[in-house]
């Protein structure tokens, strides 16, 4: 059984007991426990079920590489699936559930898959479920989907109550890993004066050294670690962060740090996770190494564990996973586990060393304790079951015959170590195969390159392939100093701390145990625990021609589980190389991709949720609109009222009321979102003549002109009224969406093409609240305001004629009035300072009462302009429409030699007489044409599609006319006036519409010019 030891446990505080539940069962642990150590202390070895075969699984590792012990944590809105028990700090009230089983962890119906595993080999699904066709979607796939997946999905309606944030940080050197290598590197770099940030994923510093032993500068590693931490904390140029994992390295020295602030204390307030967006000149990866499992049959039975991890449980948390332990190894390090267990009073029943020659001093030390060590031996198999009971031993160099079976309840295995090279590799760092130690290590000659073309990552310590405390510390001191130097700080040789540990004999690569294990054993030998990939699967992939390592990975799913192959990649690669009669370096590795360890989506999204998900741009009249029935419509980042609905009124009713009232009385539109750009300078006229298709340089001061803009590619991009303010100043109105883009467009041409032209542009859109005062009573209300204020601007027809503007006072407000109309009514657009916008609006509403004033929204705006046949950018245009299509030839200056779009219009397709042209459309029965409908032509095209001859661009119910009106683009449309064409609806109904003039109302324009 696994249990708490009476002694040991450097990270736990036995005086602080913590209650938690697992699968509904109440358990106790101590402060400082991980969920995994606490479960082991409660003899809960089995912690989950595997992905495919639903085999019972226990914890294998003690850190973030853990593939098996995944938990569903918490409940309600704080529920989260797939949390690793090994990286979950225990807290009071923690509720954990194991996952991927039904009805219970102990009895799982889907474990039937285990019995069928012979059929469910790698890629079986590519070969089956092909016939009959409908069954894949309706039967096979639903079953596969249900049995796949890990934790339960959060609730459909879950609203995460936690918050997240980002933090930008700039450093000269980022040291990743707070083990002894990281601390030594940090110290060396910091002493050179560099600004250093150290990131440690755990809540404790020092890494493996306190567990592995040895001495640093003559003391136990803890002593040096504390001393060094104190020194670093005292340095102004050093920042230390624990619980903060470097999750990825990106181009140009960008590093993401994933800081878990409240996972260990949920609900304490403040953000749950903080994503550090770090920009640094140099990165030192002191990320350590990860132990590899050994590949023997039954290596996935709960109780089989990585040897060093077992040591972690004993030393860090005072927990032993078993009472009778078999140690299996191909290297000396696992002997430390044997010693550690022995010291803790746990029986080590056998050390099985695959090497014929065995180990060095560590082995001797183990033998001295009276522990039986066998050389050249292997584990043939661990007996299947919910936990280890029997282990069969055989010769390593054989097929697994002549087994000796021994009783044991845990197995500690070590297949050697793999440097953690992920961060080195994320941004293109290359690796070399180290034959002696059988691992990939960073190739210092091929580092990832930064913006200056130089390497910006330095690997150090065991992450750089160093074994032994002395070598690790020496390498780390050099790495730290070099990083600082590369970051531009004068080189400063820093003496490394002196590390001493027992010398180790060479390891021997063992990729399969026993070396010639037969197929029955290989089919029980796991490479990727979570995804249930076995040695036989990789061999099958190779046999079937999936020879590239990427093919094998994808065919077998090796390394694609949530641990991203941290334990399985090298072992799998070795089997693949062997199957192909090749060598590991020739087969190569798969690409390491960020993140190193999964990070929460919440953290990635950061603060952007709820209110501040995206900026909402608000006009000065926003709050009034909101309080007065505005039915909001997002327009870019703005929100504009679609209509102002009154209680008991439908949207449609509201729009009809607004339309009629504006035509008959007085309507107000919040037009503040329209873009307003000042263009000024001696060359401003020349410049605007290039920007607009029509002539702007000839516009007289005080007057307005409607202008069109095309892209260089000829398509209509924006429109608006331009006013000439003085001799060298124009004010250009743009569409709502165009304010920023047209401003940028103008700046682009000025800065990158005509940089010698003297023109300045300023975007003053938001300086003004702009109100369109529209309707037959428009002048009356404004004159009333002036009368109340005791005078103001003369707004009469003669003093301010149509298409002119004036500055002055209206109702006591400093204002600019434009006599322009997008509705066909008498209309003034009045700009006042934004800070006074609400007050001006209030004054208009108050004064307008006697004229039956009503605000109107964007839909009414659209209908009013459509009744007049005015085009709308974004409705009549869609990026494929040219002015000629909209019969706007009159706005294409023939006098100008050049303007943006002029050359483009000469191309054959744009000059094609068959282009669809703008017309009005009236349904024969007065109904409203469906939006976006296409007009049917004759026959079908070569691809069997119905030929079409036009489409609806705008369609509305006109309350003014009491019928549907529409505009559309129709082939040869203007020549086909009176013809009736057909628009099929999506429901099969055919709408018949007559082609008519697009001006439906007040064709002579009498109403606006009064």
């Amino acid at each position: 059984m696994s249990t708490r030891l009476a002694k040991q446990g450097r990270l736990i505080d036995r005086s602080k007991q913590i209650d938690f539940t697992f699968n509904g069962k109440r358990m106790q642990g101590y402060a400082g426990d991980s969920l995994a150590s606490a479960l082991l202390a409660n003899d809960q070895m089995m912690m989950g079920r595997s992905f495919k075969y639903h085999r019972p699984r226990g914890v294998v590792a003690a850190g973030s590489e853990e593939p098996n012990a995944l938990m569903q944590l918490g409940s309600g809105d704080r529920y989260e699936p797939n949390q690793r028990a090994t990286t979950t700090e225990l807290f009071s009230g923690l509720t954990a559930k194991s996952q991927n089983h039904w009805p219970s962890l102990e009895f799982d119906v889907m474990a039937i898959n285990n019995k069928l595993s012979r059929f469910l080999t790698a890629g079986f699904y590519y070969k089956m479920f092909i016939h009959p066709r409908p069954l894949w979607k309706h039967l096979y796939e639903p079953i596969i989907r249900k049995s796949a997946g890990l934790g339960e999905a959060p609730d459909n309606e879950l609203k995460d109550p936690d918050t997240y944030e980002h933090f930008y940080f700039f450093a000269d050197v980022v040291v990743v890993g707070g083990g002894v290598a990281g601390l030594q590197s940090a110290k060396a770099a910091a002493l050179s004066g560099a600004k250093v940030l150290v990131l440690e994923q755990n809540n404790h510093w020092g890494g493996r050294a306190p567990v592995d032993g040895g001495t640093i500068d003559g003391d136990a590693p803890e002593v040096w670690i504390e001393k060094t931490l104190d020194a670093l904390r005292g340095m102004k140029n050093v920042t230390l962060r624990d619980r903060c994992m470097a999750s990825g390295v990106y181009d140009h020295g960008y590093v993401l740090g994933y800081e878990r602030l409240t996972d260990h204390a949920p609900g304490q307030g403040g953000p749950r996770h903080r994503l550090w967006r770090i920009r640094t000149k140099q990165i030192v990866t002191a990320t350590g190494a990860i132990e590899r499992p050994l590949s023997f049959a039954g290596n996935d039975v709960p109780g089989v564990m990585l040897a060093a991890s077992m040591r972690d449980y004993v030393v860090n948390w005072g927990v032993t996973p078993g009472q009778k332990v078999v140690v299996a190894t191909n290297n000396d390090d696992a002997y430390r586990t044997a010693l550690c267990l022995h010291e803790a009073g746990v029986e080590v029943v056998r050390v099985v060393d695959a090497r014929d020659t065995g180990g060095g001093a560590l082995m001797e030390a183990v033998r001295e304790k009276g522990i039986r060590v066998e050389l050249g031996r292997a584990i043939a198999r661990v007996k299947d079951g919910p936990r280890v009971t029997k282990v069969a031993i055989c010769a390593q160099n054989g097929e697994g015959g002549a087994q000796e079976e021994i009783d044991a309840d845990a197995v500690a295995m070590s297949g050697g170590w793999s440097p953690v090279v992920h961060l080195w590799s994320h941004c293109g760092g290359k690796l070399n195969w180290d034959k002696e130690n059988a691992f990939f290590r960073p190739d210092p000659a091929r580092p990832p390159l930064g913006d200056n073309g130089e390497g910006f990552v330095i690997a150090t310590g065991s992450a750089n392939g160093n074994l032994g405390l002395g070598a690790v510390l020496e390498d780390a001191a050099v790495a730290g100093a070099k990083a600082a130097e590369c970051a531009g700080f004068p080189a400063k040789a820093v003496a490394a701390a002196k590390g001493e540990s027992m010398t180790e004999a060479a390891m021997e690569p063992v990729w399969l145990m026993p070396a010639k294990a037969d197929i029955k054993l290989r089919m029980k030998t796991w490479l990727d625990y979570q995804n249930d990939v076995k040695v036989s699967d990789v061999q099958l992939a190779a046999r079937e021609g999936y020879e590239s390592v990427e093919h094998t990975k994808r065919y077998t799913t090796l390394g694609m589980a949530t641990d991203q192959g941290k334990l399985s990649n090298i072992n799998g690669l070795a089997i693949l190389a062997d199957s192909l009669n090749s060598e590991i370096p020739q087969v190569g590795t798969t690409t390491f991709r960020p993140p190193y360890h999964p990070i929460s989506m919440g953290a990635i999204g950061g603060e952007a949720r709820g209110e501040i998900f995206q900026p909402v741009r608000k006009t000065p009249i926003y709050d009034w609109n909101d309080a007065n029935g505005a039915d909001w419509e997002p327009v870019g980042q703005w929100r504009r009222p679609f209509a102002y609905t009154r209680s008991g009124e439908s949207r449609h009713d509201a729009v009809n009321r607004e339309v009629k009232n504006t035509r008959e009385n007085l309507g107000l539109l919040d037009a503040s979102t329209l873009g307003k750009l000042i263009v000024k300078g001696p060359d401003a006229g020349k410049f605007l003549d290039m920007m607009y298709t029509n002539m702007m340089s000839t516009l007289k001061v005080g007057k307005c002109r409607y202008g069109l803009m095309c892209s260089e590619n000829g398509f209509l991009s924006d429109d608006g009224v331009v006013a000439r303010i003085d001799e060298d100043t124009w004010l250009c109105h743009t569409t709502t969406g165009g304010a920023d883009s047209i401003h940028a467009h103008m700046e682009e041409w000025l800065q990158t093409e005509w940089w010698d032209w003297k023109v300045y542009v300023a975007n003053v859109t938001e300086q003004y609240a702009q109100v369109a005062v529209v309707g037959p009573k428009a002048r009356k209300v404004l004159e009333k305001l002036n009368a109340q204020a005791g005078g103001g601007m003369d707004l009469s027809k003669d003093a301010l004629p149509f298409m002119e503007w004036r500055d002055g006072q209206i109702g006591g407000f400093e204002a600019r009035a434009y006599r322009i109309s997008f509705s066909g009514e008498l209309s003034y657009e009045i700009a006042v300072a934004a800070s006074e916008g609400q007050a001006f609006w209030d004054a208009l509403m108050e004064a307008g009462k006697e004229f039956n004033v009503m605000p109107y929204g964007t839909e009414t705006l659209h209908i009013l302009r459509a009744e007049k046949g005015f085009i709308m950018i974004g409705d009549e245009t869609d990026g494929t429409v040219i002015p000629q299509d909209l019969n706007l030839q009159w706005a294409l200056s023939k006098k100008k030699e050049d303007y943006l779009g002029k050359r483009a219009h000469l191309r054959s397709h744009m000059a094609d007489p068959d282009r669809w042209k703008l017309v009005g459309l009236e349904t024969v029965d007065g109904s409203v044409l469906p939006d976006g409908a296409y007009a049917k032509g004759n026959g079908i095209n070569a691809n069997g599609q119905q030929n079409v001859i036009g489409r609806v661009t705008s369609t509305y119910y006109s309350a003014t006319l009491g019928r549907g009106i529409a505009m559309g683009l129709v082939k040869h449309g203007p020549k086909r006036m009176g013809e009736v064409i057909e628009f099929p609806g999506t429901d099969g109904k055919i709408f018949k519409a007559k082609i008519v003039d697009p001006v439906f109302y007040d064709k002579e324009g009498e109403k606006q010019n009064v």
Partner: protein, 188 residues
């Protein structure tokens, strides 16, 4: 003439720092040749401040001039005087190629004061805000979360932030969120 109001109407929030609507502030966008003596004199006359160097703000009694780009300054003047000062600038720069526009009402203006001020901004702007890198008088145009902004550090260690008026409420919410009382980073 009525009482003008800001977009956030005096809002304030205190957490690791205090975020406050800094009220109506006269602001003038001035584009022109920053090396021109005429322009420099006009700026001085309008604000009392010298034309600042690259990425600096020069502060004076009742006014300031901030470096927006090689051909643009943001001038700060009392709100009530912005219209008149804009006209004065235009007059003074007659004959020069220059543009002065009153943008006082087009902007929202905030102050961030208190110990956590640097951290609040560093959560939303991709700028090195450590004391070594960002000192009083430094001015920066950048991005704050999803909107453009400009900010500078005052002598008293507080920041001033300028953004478009339409996103004033967003900016206030953003800054308040970043100033959450339990969100101190402790990085500076």
């Amino acid at each position: 003439m009525s009482n003008p109001v800001t977009a956030t109407n005096g809002a304030a929030f205190t957490g690791i720092a205090t975020v406050k609507d800094a009220g109506l502030q006269g602001m003038i966008t001035l584009r022109g040749d920053l090396a021109s003596k005429t322009l420099q004199a006009a700026v001085k006359a309008a604000t009392g401040a010298e034309v600042p160097g690259q990425r600096k703000v020069s502060l004076a009694e009742g006014g300031a001039a901030a470096w927006m780009s090689p051909d643009e300054l943001l001038l700060l003047v009392p709100y009530e005087e912005a219209v008149a000062k804009t006209a004065e600038l235009a007059e003074a720069l007659k004959g020069e190629h220059a543009l002065a526009a009153n943008v006082s009402d087009a902007r929202s203006f905030f102050s961030i004061t208190g110990e956590g001020a640097r951290e609040v901004l560093a959560k939303i702007a991709p700028v090195d805000l450590s004391p070594e890198s960002f000192a009083p008088g430094d001015f920066r145009r950048s991005r704050t979360a999803q909107v453009a902004a400009a900010f500078w550090l005052q002598e008293d260690g507080s920041f001033r932030v300028v953004c478009f008026r339409s996103v004033g409420v967003y900016m206030f919410n953003l800054l308040s969120n970043a100033a959450h009382p339990q969100s101190a980073v402790g990085a500076y």
